[in-house]
Structures are given as structure tokens and as C-alpha cells.
Symmetry: C2
Subunit: 214 residues, 2 copies
């Protein structure tokens, strides 16, 4: 496992390009690079936070689980972002208020809490970075509230399909889609079947194809 170079770091986290050289060096020398597989658990609700993760590659999904076992995705963390909830619970001394799992393999840089706290105090780049990400998440989660509270499931599903599809196709089980949208598999299956009957999608096991609106 090679160390992370300054160049690599600032490429993924451009907010630190303008930071004094010492700042990035401090981060890199005190932190460890860590690889993760897809579909592994990162945090469960209530966990304490001892380090903060800066994602270099891969993807992490932050979600809630209800008593009935249903899930809903709050947001996803990609390269160039941190698990800001980590930051939040480090700085405000709370425990982790959700679950997090990886959905695509990758690597992250684990920055110890103590160093992170100090950098937020000393480095303007770090402060700006953390504030704007925290603020982005708050806005995103507020928009999610709006969608769940007022949106209709068929519209939310269609938007989801369009966003997630590549070249008009999407490989996913109905259960995974339901977990992202916060509904049940049956509802997703029924709505997709309706879409199919209307001729807007084609369905196969583990695969949904969008048929441009004709």
C-alpha cells in the first residue's frame, strides 16, 4: 500500500489546491490509506467516530433502516467527498445517526479525529471544505424530505431510472431500487410492470431498459 502523494490528493480534493503546503503534508503523513470492497459495512447507527474518511475512489451509501426492514438512501459519498457525518459527530461529539455501506470498491484516507479537529481550526481550506459539504448534505436531505412527503412514487421511480441508467439501461434488482427509494419491492415491481405495459421500459431479470418516449 503506497502512501498518497500530494498531487493525487489535491487532484481528488481540489479545495486543498490553494492550501499552504504544510496542511496537505500534515494530512498525508498522519493518515492511512485504506482500501474497501463493495458491499461492506462502514458504520451502523449509534457507532462512535474515531477517524474521518476522505474518499479517494469508490462509493459509499448512507441510509436509514426502519423497523419493518425497509431502507432509504439519504445520499451517496463519492471521490472528493468526506463522510461528513463523521465530521459532524467528531466536531459535535455525537454518535453516528445512520448506517453507511460501500457500494463500489475503492480507497479512502483515514484522518484521525484529533488532527481533523485541529485542521478545522487552523486551515481555511479545511473549514471551507467541511462547511460547504455539510451544507450540501443538509440541503440534499431537506430535498429528500420534500420528495418523500409530497412526491408520487411513479414519478420518483422514473426519475431514478433516468438518473441511474447508462445508455438507457440499468442493472439492478427491484429490491435494491426499493431500498434506495424507501419503498417496498412489491411497489417497485408493480410500477415497473405498469411502465412496461405503457411501453416506456423493457424488463428482464436484473435489467431494466428505457425505451425513449415514442
Amino acid at each position: 500500500m503506497t502512501a498518497v502523494s500530494e498531487k493525487e490528493f489535491t487532484t481528488v480534493f481540489p479545495a486543498f489546491k490553494k492550501a499552504p503546503a504544510g496542511t496537505v503534508q500534515q494530512i498525508l503523513s498522519a493518515s492511512s490509506r485504506s482500501a474497501f470492497q463493495a458491499y461492506s459495512r462502514i458504520y451502523a447507527e449509534g457507532d462512535a467516530c474515531t477517524a474521518i474518511a476522505f474518499v479517494l475512489s469508490g462509493e459509499i451509501r448512507v441510509f436509514k433502516i426502519g423497523k419493518t426492514g425497509r431502507e432509504i438512501t439519504l445520499y451517496e459519498i463519492g471521490p472528493g467527498e468526506t463522510c461528513i457525518l463523521n465530521a459532524s459527530c467528531i466536531l459535535a461529539k455525537r454518535s453516528y445517526p445512520a448506517h453507511a455501506m460501500t457500494i463500489a470498491a475503492g480507497e479512502m484516507l483515514l484522518v484521525p479525529s484529533a488532527l481533523f479537529r485541529r485542521l478545522v481550526e487552523e486551515s481555511e481550506s479545511m473549514r471551507d471544505f467541511v462547511f460547504s459539504l455539510l451544507s450540501l448534505r443538509l440541503t440534499q436531505v431537506m430535498e429528500l424530505v420534500e420528495e418523500i412527503a409530497f412526491g408520487k412514487m411513479d414519478e420518483r421511480l422514473m426519475e431514478y431510472l433516468i438518473e441511474r441508467s447508462e445508455k438507457g439501461a440499468l442493472a439492478a434488482t427491484h429490491q435494491k431500487i426499493a431500498n434506495d427509494l424507501g419503498t417496498s419491492r412489491e411497489v417497485v415491481s408493480r410500477l415497473l410492470k405498469d411502465f412496461e405495459r405503457q411501453g416506456s421500459v423493457a424488463l428482464a431479470r436484473n435489467e431494466i431498459t428505457l425505451l425513449g418516449t415514442e
Copy 2:
């Protein structure tokens, strides 16, 4: 309109008790005290932010409105808190992502954006205050997502009644309750009527009385 004294400020915002004297003085001398009535509009979705409000007394409700006119309360801001979304849009240069209105008359201290930005850089007290509030809101809104996505309306309503009631009674129209919970008046009316039939509440115009579970 008298100026806000240092003592008054640190009583309402204890986080600044440990701050160097200059910090609080800077805030007070550059800011203006402003009174507000109950039920007046503060921000609409998309507004730009030019100052940040530190609430001295009264209460502000932050909410979203759906296309159908339904509303849902995201959280409420009381004395000793700021409209952190202000902070968020000042620091991250976004526009305001929700609506805000007052629900109880009171006063606030309007701190100009430029000063606020500078204080976040220079003052540890201010930074801690803002971080912990931002983090609190994110956690609250995430819990709201969980409730809406997985909770049942009757349970949410009963919790709401218990939380908001004073001495077992609550003065509110069904419409207001619906606006807080993100549902429609009819649903609230129906569920309250069910509660009444079960003997757990008594209903009158503009008044709901809880009848301890006997």
C-alpha cells in the same frame, strides 16, 4: 430599540461565554436588534441571504411546501439558536432551500454576512457554535426522513400531541397539525376522531385534550 447587552447575549447564547471579550463586542456593535411578529414570513425558497439571524426570543418555523399546497415542518428555531440555513447559504454561497416563518413573536440579532464569515474564521466559539448547530439540524432532518418514510401517521400524530401539549391540552387547528406533520387536514381529522372514539382524547373547536390512558 435598546442595544443588546453583552450579558443578555451570553445568557441566551452560552457558547460565547468563554469567547474573548472582543468577539462578543464585535458582534453586538455591528449588528442590529430586530423585533418580529408571530406569523410573518422570513424567507422563501430561493431567497439570497445577506445577514444571519441569532434568535433572542420567539420562534421560527422552517418548512417545505409541495406543489399540492401541503406543508411539512423541517425544524423550529428557538432562542439561543441561529437560522443555520442562513449560515449554510452564506458560507457555501447557495440560495435558501426552504421557507421560514415566525410562529411566536420575539426578537433577533441580525449579524451581517461579512462579519459572520470573518468570525467563523477567527473565533473558535463561533466555529464550534455553528458546527454543532449545523450538525444538529442535519441529524434532525435525517430523523425526519426516517419518520416520514417508515412511520405510521397515527403514531406520529400521537407523539406530536404528547410533545406539544401543555398540561394535557393543546390549542391548534387540524390544519396546523397537518402542516407540521406533512399530511392533509382530512387525515388528521380522521385520526383524531378515531382517538376520540377510543377514548384517548377529547375534541373541541381549536382544542385537543389528552385523556391519560385509562
